[in-house]
């Protein structure tokens, strides 16, 4: 093929799928470059060892090591601190499907609560009202199940969910019972999983092998099952799996000219385009910019102001297990069916910044549960261990916490000076530590999780209170959005301040963390960006 695409899209996950579908549908030629393979439904199995214990749908630490350190004074060592989906569809293939909108307050927290010394806490340059039509479009386009009006803390919405909520599991019913006893407001979890047939796809069959797995039924509304097929159907989208971009190329005027990528045979290929859209996630997007140094951008592409890679935010909270008298069989169906957002907003009366939400969720799959799920006082082997497995596994559930992570300039993605990946490129080096308020919030929420389970009738609760950063899977904040080119990387429409034909659209644009579960917002931002890019391109302004 000699014809150059209008747009190169790097990454095919939550945002990349939206960009491919929207721009191809609008009449542009797009090429999607995806690091990982193009898997089909028949490739997915219920193999807990591969998909859960080895996180087989995520970045492989052997070929693509990540290094981690808590402080800048330390030397980072290889440790899989972050995970992201690495196949066509990205993380939407294996995620739990939680599809929460942000609240109106999420975009203006700096104005609501004031400055927090030592942080980069800021308002977003856009409001919930700017994004609302695109949340609605995302929900309709991919298929989201939920119940509008059930959560009294929900922001206003212009349309109901396109599908009714998923049936509650026993964990959801118990959670609802406990939460109501405490005066809280539980509601059906909104999920991008089909409760009924939708647009040619069948409803969820409740097989249970959901989070960490790909869906054989195409009932999970992943980019793989929805947006990518729609993009390919236009005839204007070329999808190149196993294509790993190593560099974004610029000319002497500072405009992007195309990308250099490794093809499946690890041969370097240059592909020219009119514009490049990076949707590679909150770690790989800044890493790629840092790998794309030039005379004009000596600190990395679009990074003359030094903000690329700063303000990485983390999944801070922990889960609490509860044991109940009768079998829940929580291994069946989807992961989460009920949520409370009563603690969502920050409250200065607590004495620290932060808030969170809690959901009723399946705790872990059989082998993972046997390895590390039982209460610490339970025998770890022998006949009593075996008996405990049979007693606990059907009778347990988890209350999952999701809380705030403040943006700190010291929490960064940089290039590791020594560790390389299998292609010879510097590994991403993660430097992350909690802000004291993040830890206080997570521990405070942990108590609320215990209280709900106890009010629900749990005869035993256990879990490890948050104390050190664990695995983070929601990668946000590292190329933040803002009006001011001195303190942000992209403008409110995701165009890089320093490079007119470069767009960064994924979790990296986030200014604050909300309460995790970022996928709905990543996709709403992408629909909004696609709308803007389409109009700008038609006016010849890209």
């Amino acid at each position: 093929m000699t014809r150059h695409p209008d747009f190169i899209i790097i990454g095919s996950g939550a945002a990349g799928g939206v960009m491919a579908k929207e721009l191809a549908t609008a009449g542009f030629d797009v090429t999607v470059l995806e690091q990982g393979p193009f898997l089909k439904e028949n490739d997915f199995t219920h193999d807990e060892i591969h998909y859960v214990l080895r996180q087989g749908l995520t970045n492989d630490p052997k070929s693509q090591p990540v290094t981690y350190r808590r402080h800048h004074s330390e030397t980072a060592t290889p440790f899989k601190a972050i995970a992201y989906g690495r196949q066509v569809g990205g993380g939407t293939v294996h995620f739990a499907g939680n599809y929460w909108r942000f609240h109106e307050s999420d975009f203006i927290e700096r104005s609501l609560y004031g400055a927090i010394p030592g942080t980069a806490f800021a308002d977003w340059p856009i409001t919930y009202a700017d994004l609302e039509p695109f949340y609605t479009k995302a929900e309709r386009d991919i298929g989201v199940s939920g119940l509008a009006g059930a959560n009294p803390f929900d922001p206003p919405r212009s349309a109901p969910y396109p599908l009714p909520p998923m049936p509650p599991k026993s964990s959801g019913i118990l959670f609802e019972r406990g939460a109501r006893k405490l005066g809280l407001h539980p509601y059906p979890a909104p999920v991008s999983i089909l409760s009924q047939p939708y647009q040619g796809r069948g409803a969820c069959t409740h097989c249970g092998f959901c989070q960490w797995f790909g869906c054989e039924m195409r009932a999970k509304s992943s980019s793989l099952a929805t947006l990518i097929p729609a993009a390919l159907k236009t005839g204007r989208c070329r999808l190149l799996p196993n294509s790993y971009v190593r560099r974004i190329q610029t000319d002497s005027s500072g405009r992007v000219t195309g990308v250099v990528y490794f093809n499946a045979r690890r041969k370097e290929v240059f592909l020219r385009a009119k514009a490049v859209i990076v949707c590679a996630n909150g770690v790989e997007t800044p890493r790629l910019l840092l790998l794309s140094k030039s005379n004009r951008f000596p600190h990395g592409l679009a990074n003359n102001n030094g903000w690329v890679g700063k303000c990485l935010m983390w999944d801070n909270s922990a889960g609490v297990w509860g044991l109940f008298e009768h079998p829940l069989n929580d291994y069946k169906s989807i992961r989460a069916t009920r949520v409370v957002q009563d603690f969502y907003n920050a409250d200065p009366k607590r004495g620290f910044y932060g808030g969170g939400a809690i959901d009723a969720r399946f705790g872990s799959f059989p082998a993972a549960f046997a390895l590390s799920g039982l209460p610490p006082s339970t025998p770890r082997w022998g006949a009593d261990f075996k008996r405990a497995l049979a007693h606990y596994f059907p009778r347990v559930m988890m209350a999952g916490g999701h809380s705030t992570s403040l943006p700190l300039e010291s929490n960064t993605v940089t290039l590791d000076p020594t560790t390389k990946d299998a292609w010879g490129l510097p590994a991403p080096r993660i430097t992350f530590d909690f802000h004291p308020d993040d830890l206080k919030t997570a521990r405070w929420l942990f108590q609320k999780q215990i209280e709900i389970l106890q009010a629900a009738g749990a005869t035993q609760t256990w879990g490890n209170p948050p104390d050190k950063p664990g695995l983070s899977v929601h990668l946000i904040g590292t190329c933040r959005m803002g009006h001011d080119p001195r303190t942000s990387t992209v403008n409110p429409f995701h165009r890089a301040h320093e490079v007119p034909n470069l767009f960064l659209i994924d979790g990296s644009s986030f200014v604050t963390s909300a309460r995790q579960q970022p996928t709905a917002t990543i996709q709403a931002l992408a629909y909004r960006a696609a709308h803007f890019i389409t109009q700008s391109a038609r006016r010849g302004e890209i």
Partner: protein, 177 residues
């Protein structure tokens, strides 16, 4: 049948086949020697024991699971096994000077032996493989006939419908427990 339903039925059938028909379980060892396999199996059966009417790691196929693991997806654990077993045999001779093989120890003696090492990395490795042989996917040659899943009350099926458990069953809705 409209195309959506046909597609759904076909994909359901394919996925069910996928999930529920692992390759025939092996009957011979390809990596482990019979003596080593017997020693390791004796340890695995101390971690997840076989009991009357309640099969354990042995019946789940531990020895074939481990043999397959060390030949394929967990090859880098060969050395830890060789070293761990050598150390354990030394310990066995200290604790039970007249014994000849781990496999010949009484259940009480095996428990005593494992208690002496149950904070060690080798024990963790052995425990992990024992659990995976019992509760992992049958395609790894363990969890034979889903007996591990049955032990923890998991039905190996592709399709479920509500009620999933006691508490979401409308019949129990008036029961405060």
């Amino acid at each position: 049948m409209d195309s959506t339903r046909r597609q759904w039925a076909l994909s359901t059938f394919a996925a069910f086949q996928h999930a529920s028909h692992p390759a025939a379980p092996p009957t011979t060892l390809r990596y482990l020697s019979p003596a080593t396999a017997a020693d390791l199996e004796a340890l695995a059966s101390t971690i997840i024991p076989s009991e009357p009417d309640s099969p354990g790691a042995v019946e789940a196929g531990f020895r074939f699971f481990l043999d397959h693991a060390l030949l394929s997806w967990d090859q880098d654990k060969r050395q830890p096994y060789t070293q761990g077993l050598a150390h354990l045999n030394q310990l066995r001779l200290q604790l039970f000077p007249n014994s000849t093989f781990i496999a010949d120890l009484s259940p009480q003696q095996r428990t005593q032996l494992l208690t002496a090492i149950d904070r060690s990395p080798f024990f963790e490795l052995l425990r992990t493989h024992t659990i995976l042989s019992f509760l992992g996917p049958p395609s790894y040659h363990g969890n034979r006939d889903y007996l591990g899943y049955r032990h923890i009350h998991v039905e190996p099926a592709m399709i479920f419908s509500p009620p999933f458990g006691y508490y979401d069953d409308p019949a129990n809705n008036n029961n405060p427990k």
